[in-house]
Amino acid sequence: MKRKSLCIALLATTLLSGPAFAEDVTLTIESWRNDDLTLWQDKIIPAFEASHPGIKVKFTPSAPAEYNAVLNSKLDAGSAGDLITCRPFDASLALYDAGHLVDVSGLENMSNFSDVAKSAWQTDDASATFCVPMASVIHGFIFNKEAFEEVGVEVPETEAEFFAALDKFKEDGSYIPLAMGTNDQWEAATMGYNNIGPNYWKGEEGRLALIKGEQKLTDDQWVAPFATLAKWGAYMGDGYEAQTYPDSQNIFTLGRAAIYPAGSWEITGFNAQADFEMGAFKPPVQNAGDTCYISDHTDIAIGLNADSPNADAAKTFLNWVGSEEFATLYANALPGFFSLSNHNVSMEDPLAQEFVSWRGECESTIRSTYQILSRGTPNLENETWGASVAAIKGTETPEQLGQQLQEGLASWYEPQQ
């Protein structure tokens, strides 16, 4: 009896996994955003399918840390989906150069994106654009409003106020001042170094100078963020060395921590988890009134697998990604992923509104290590992870770290030699 029902179950799954209706085209999307699975299934895909009968869409994400490896293997084996979610810059450029992605600059709705928005998914001479930009993420700090009121802390604007606030939480003792750990390493670089850094190296000015070779990682403006990070360790929870990224998220959403160094992509998850009111503040500046710089990072786009048998349907989908309908849908389904299109997208989430309002007050830049500088080995981005962790733990001095990064970069990057 048991065996029989198992057989039926197995048979049913094989039948169901095949195409349900022969005449429909099914598009499969490869992505690293496994957090967004339900949003795609419940909101985005139904909206597309309603207006495009005959095309079915399947969203099949893999774990973020494994995405690049998984995708590359699938592409080489010819088993990848029709639509490929694109990481910014070199990871996708390499796919385009290898013939896995198709030039999509001819799509009608590509005119809805500015050159800056497209820059992360173009060849160096900007002659071909191979992914349709979807969203950017903005860095800053999310804080627990109730904790701030309870302990009587003002939202900090300058660095001195920021550390004064942390001191006050530490004295009070009922909240962990800063919810971050160093176990997974990337938070230290992404939500630490590249979050507060742009205020030191003046955003685009410093980033472009570094690419041109006019500034070095041993210069003061590149070393100083490490010196600031070195002060963070004292405010992080007990055993932060073994605290993982999900640990930090949970500590904050459980209301045990006051400030969370964040990227705007956290908003959706935090809204669902936290039952207290949250606010956000931008990376603190040195002196009140200084120009502020924020990391408004071009993070996610979507392109067409060159081997897709359903190229026409896939292009229809990509064109729809460039439409106002998608921009509004995506920005509201995923508050914290801000549309890169020129459409005037209205968002309802207050936290997302706070983040996006900084675009008007501050100068925008992207993460310093992403464009060109992570093209060689050793990879500057990955090296920055380790360096930021070492800074927080205090195992090496900021000057030593700057020196190491500079040597690594100069070993393969000509303008820095």
């Binding site: 840390a65 690049n68 490896a69 590359n72 293997s73 990481r87 810059f89 070199d90 990871a91 390499a94 150069d97 290898a98 013939g99 750990g181 160093t182 176990n183 997974d184 390493q185 990337w186 929870g237 007990d238 055993g239 932060y240 060395e241 073994a242 605290q243 993982t244 640990d247 500590i251 290590t369 992403y370 992570s374 080995t377 050793p378 990879n379 981005e381 990955n382 992870w385 380790g386 962790v389 070492a390 733990k393 195992t395 690594g408 070993s411």
Partner: protein
């Protein structure tokens, strides 16, 4: 029956195993060795001879990563040899004691972790040792030893040893089972003859049983060696591909994975990855040869 005739039944019976083994083991192995001699420039694969190995051992950055991983690997192996195998032998000796009650229960209980997935083991131990949610700090504070607790997996100096001990916990059942089987195969008469000569208890273990199970210990050592130098899963499940903190838990397997498949912004380089895989193969080959020709041939075997 003439001996010169081809024995077709032998060929037929061997064929499936030979074909499958060739297709999924021998061919990929030699292809990996071949891949290590190439590199890719502008989407074209070009033959470069031993250049990848020159980079791996000559370039200060590559060689530093390699020697770091190899050193960690030796430490990982050493912990297994010094902790896992002695404990395995001790457990087997206790289990084979004729008057021990519930022996089969202990045997199964100790063996169960071996059949668990690495992912489960890595995740469970990460939670147990977590300074935030883990029970390790609570248990230590219950006996007043809270000060001994440290975020072990996050500290450069402890992380690798901690992971090695987790692996020991998982696999201690294997040496235990093998030694247990060897101990059971020792004939009663020999032990009784020893008893007549006044050798009982512990000294019977040291003087009679241990020499008789030495060949099994040799096999276990070589299995441990091969297993440890191919290890990857536990480190990857617990610490990720970057084998943090600061590469202190990086072993050859994770180093190879990171190079071969790439990581985050680092693009994968199958050719350098193959070079590392080849180096791993060479290390394991040398180790196994040293054992086979240096140790196993000198071990005395006893026939009963």
């Amino acid at each position: 029956m003439k001996s010169s005739r081809i024995k077709w039944h032998v060929v037929v019976f061997l064929a499936p195993a030979v074909l499958v083994y060739t297709a999924i083991m021998i061919f990929p192995l030699f292809n990996t060795l071949r891949l290590a001699l190439y590199t890719e420039t502008d989407q074209v694969r070009v033959f470069v001879g031993l250049a990848n190995f020159m980079t791996l051992f000559g370039d200060p950055r590559w060689s530093e990563s390699f020697w770091n991983a190899l050193g960690n690997n030796f430490w990982f192996f050493l912990v297994h040899m010094l902790v896992q195998n002695p404990i395995g032998i001790a457990l087997a000796a206790i289990l084979s004691h004729p008057r021990l009650r519930f022996a089969s229960f202990y045997r199964s209980a100790i063996f169960v972790p071996t059949i668990l997935s690495f992912v489960i083991v890595g995740f469970a131990w990460k939670l147990i040792l977590s300074p935030i949610w883990g029970i390790a700090p609570d248990m230590l504070s219950a006996v007043g030893l809270k000060s001994l607790f440290a975020p072990w997996l996050g500290k450069e100096e402890y992380a690798l040893t901690t992971l090695a001990l987790i692996s020991v916990w998982q696999f201690v059942g294997i040496p235990m089972m093998l030694i247990y089987a060897a101990l059971l195969s020792i004939p009663e008469e020999i032990l009784e003859a020893g008893e007549v000569d006044g050798i009982t208890g512990l000294s019977a273990f040291w003087k009679i049983k241990l020499p008789l199970i030495l060949p099994s210990i040799g096999i276990i050592s070589i299995l441990t060696f091969v297993g440890n130098f191919n290890a990857f899963d536990l480190i990857y499940a617990a610490q990720g591909a970057l084998a943090g903190p600061d590469f202190s838990t990086d072993i050859l397997g994770t180093f190879m994975y990171r190079t071969f498949f790439g990581f985050q912004l680092q693009l994968g380089d199958p050719h350098m990855g193959s070079a590392i895989a080849t180096a791993m193969f060479a290390i394991i080959l040398v180790g196994v040869c040293v054992y086979l020709f240096g140790i196993q041939t000198r071990l005395k075997r006893y026939q009963f």
